[in-house]
């Protein structure tokens, strides 16, 4: 099963990764080969089994509903590429003309 350029574009959008024009074709071909490689999976018949969704059959364990110490905000914000007044800053997400 091949991977078209359009499909690769769709994956880029889903994964929020911008590929350079130079890298696209090589990556598309590599992904195609990798997909072929994992496609041998359907040859093994595991239909009788239920999908396993956790690492070691653990049941969800809850802790007491008590406030506990968490990371100090200033320390966390010290690593932020941009912050103002205790908030992370990002490019505008609301168009100013929409108010």
């Amino acid at each position: 099963m091949g991977l078209t350029d359009e499909e690769l574009g769709h994956l880029e959008k889903l994964a929020k990764i911008e590929l350079t024009a130079g890298a696209r074709e090589k990556l598309r071909e590599q992904l195609e080969r990798i997909i072929e490689f994992v496609e041998q999976l359907p040859n093994v018949d595991a239909t009788a089994y239920d999908a396993v969704y956790n690492g070691n059959e653990l049941k969800l364990s809850l802790r007491p509903d008590e406030a506990i110490r968490c990371l100090p905000r200033d320390e966390v914000l010290a690593e932020a590429p941009g912050s103002i007044d205790g908030y992370f800053t990002v490019p505008a997400i609301i168009d100013s003309k929409d108010g």
Partner: protein, 488 residues
């Protein structure tokens, strides 16, 4: 000085307890060793500064008998968070990042008296089998500097093999402790899934990742594992009621053990030297009184396909957090999406992008059932199959890697040839089982070759008992190392 850095952890602890040596001398000796060799090997992304000497000096006021890893220098793979020094995961997207907390496994080591010598090189986000995917440098195999140390914990493996630390922490998602251990001639183990806390381990595939020790011998690995393992309230996937006491294991030998070898191993493509050494290992353990049987387990090639679907699916979700918002590299843009796309496009290396895109593909509408759900069913089948084997057998034995170390650059253009390095190691991750690799011999080119043991869930003591026996039979350190005990 050479003598000091040749001591095993057990010997080091004995020397401390007899008052023959002090932590400051030992840490200085290892720092000198790192200074001597790091230029040629490149095992570290970050070497601890002079603070490490102060940490060693503070131990002078502590009774050596009160701490299980008193004054033991350790190296830590750089995808494990350490407050106070950088954690990069081998990626430009985290270059300069300083974690605001320390991983539980490291915290436990330090509380036990260990001294952190630095952060070791790895394939970016633990994705790779050669450490060549690091954004910062490649690491050379101490046995031959033209060769790769394996990966993704190649820096840790090389550091231990070159005598730059007696032990190191690595992480293992599909073999990333065991394979570089095999290629560098050291011991590396991964416990049952949930035996070691993942709190502070930068996530690759959360249902497969485990932190584990690498050291020059099995007993040293067991000592480290005892300290780092056990339930952690900060990791809800860590097993409750689990405790290891492996450092007292090892006296029972191989006689009477029932060891299974998967039939599929014979049909796998591997180097002649790996095949020879494995065949000799099977005869040797039989001569020692173990019973070896051939078992039918689902095909190893299916298990590797299963792994690459599951691990990359989880990675595509786990790596969504690297978006330039809260930490790490940011490429500024006028739009939020633009910032995400350019940050991730520039910040991630090629292999990471490949894996995220593949993971996105197998989870996307129209493909989710055909790939991800099918892989989850195969995982259930594999787990059941391994469970059945362990009703009749104590251990499964396989080669660790199909080849000894390969040359740097040899597999970079063909991702699939790199992925096939993991063919013998991925089953233990998929089934959540403990496994260990120990060095068995050398190829004709004097490159190490490892043999792997896998045990049932929570059966680390059986694993270590057998591994100690096998280690004695191999006599690797006596037969294969140069006279002074260090490779380089």
């Amino acid at each position: 000085m050479k003598e000091t850095i040749s001591l095993s952890i057990k010997e080091l602890l004995d020397s401390y307890r007899k008052g023959e040596i002090r932590p400051l001398e030992v840490v200085r000796a290892y720092r000198e060793r790192i200074e001597e060799l790091e230029g040629r090997i490149g095992a570290f992304i970050y070497v601890s500064g002079d603070d490490v000497l102060k940490d060693a000096e503070k131990l002078d006021t502590v009774d050596p008998r009160s701490l299980p890893l008193y004054g033991v220098p350790v190296a830590v793979k750089d995808n494990i968070c350490t407050r106070g020094c950088p954690t990069t995961a081998g990626s430009r997207i985290l270059e300069g990042y300083r974690a605001p907390y320390t991983a539980t496994a490291v915290k436990r080591l330090v509380e036990a008296g260990a001294v952190v010598m630095g952060k070791t090189n790895l394939d970016e986000f633990a994705m790779g089998s050669s450490t060549e995917n690091s954004a910062f440098r490649a690491t050379a195999n101490p046995w031959n500097l033209d060769y790769a140390p394996g990966g993704s914990s190649g820096g840790s493996a090389a550091a231990v093999a070159a005598g730059m630390a007696p032990a190191a922490l690595g992480s293992d998602t599909g073999g990333s402790i065991r394979q570089p251990a095999s290629l560098c001639g050291v011991v590396g183990m991964k416990g049952t899934y949930g035996s070691v806390s993942r709190y502070g381990l930068i996530a690759f595939a959360s249902s497969l990742d485990q932190i584990g020790p690498m050291a020059r011998n099995v007993t040293d690995c067991a000592l480290i594992f005892d300290v780092i393992s056990g339930h952690d309230p900060n990791d809800s996937t860590s097993m409750i009621g689990y405790s290891a006491d492996l450092s007292s294991s090892g006296g029972t030998g191989l006689r009477g053990l029932r060891i299974a070898v998967p039939r599929a191993v014979e049909g796998c493509e591997m180097s002649e030297s790996v095949s020879d050494i494995f065949r000799k290992t099977v005869s040797t353990v039989e001569d020692e009184g173990a019973k070896v049987g051939i078992v039918d387990l689902p095909g190893l090639d299916a298990s590797i396909a299963c792994y690459y679907i599951l691990a990359n699916a989880e990675a595509s979700s786990n790596l969504a957090r690297y978006d330039g918002v809260r930490y790490g590299f940011r490429h500024d843009s006028d739009s939020l999406d633009g910032m995400y796309e350019k940050t991730r496009g520039e910040g991630f290396g090629e292999e990471v992008k490949r894996r995220i895109l593949l993971g996105t593909y197998v989870l996307s509408a129209g493909y989710y059932d055909a790939y991800y759900v099918k892989a989850k069913k195969l995982q259930a089948m594999l787990r059941e199959a391994y469970g059945k084997v362990f009703h009749e057998y104590d251990l499964v034995m396989m080669p660790t890697s199909p080849t000894p170390a390969f040359k740097l650059g040899e597999r970079l253009e063909d991702p699939i040839s790199m992925y096939l390095s993991d063919i013998f190691t991925t089953p233990a991750n998929i089934a959540g089982l403990p496994a260990i690799s120990l060095p068995a011999g050398l190829s004709q080119e004097r490159l190490p070759i490892g043999v792997q043991l896998v045990a049932g869930a929570r059966m680390e003591s059986k694993l270590i008992n057998a591994a100690v026996g096998l280690e004695r039979l191999f006599g690797f350190r006596e037969k294969c190392l140069p006279a002074e005990g260090e490779v380089i």
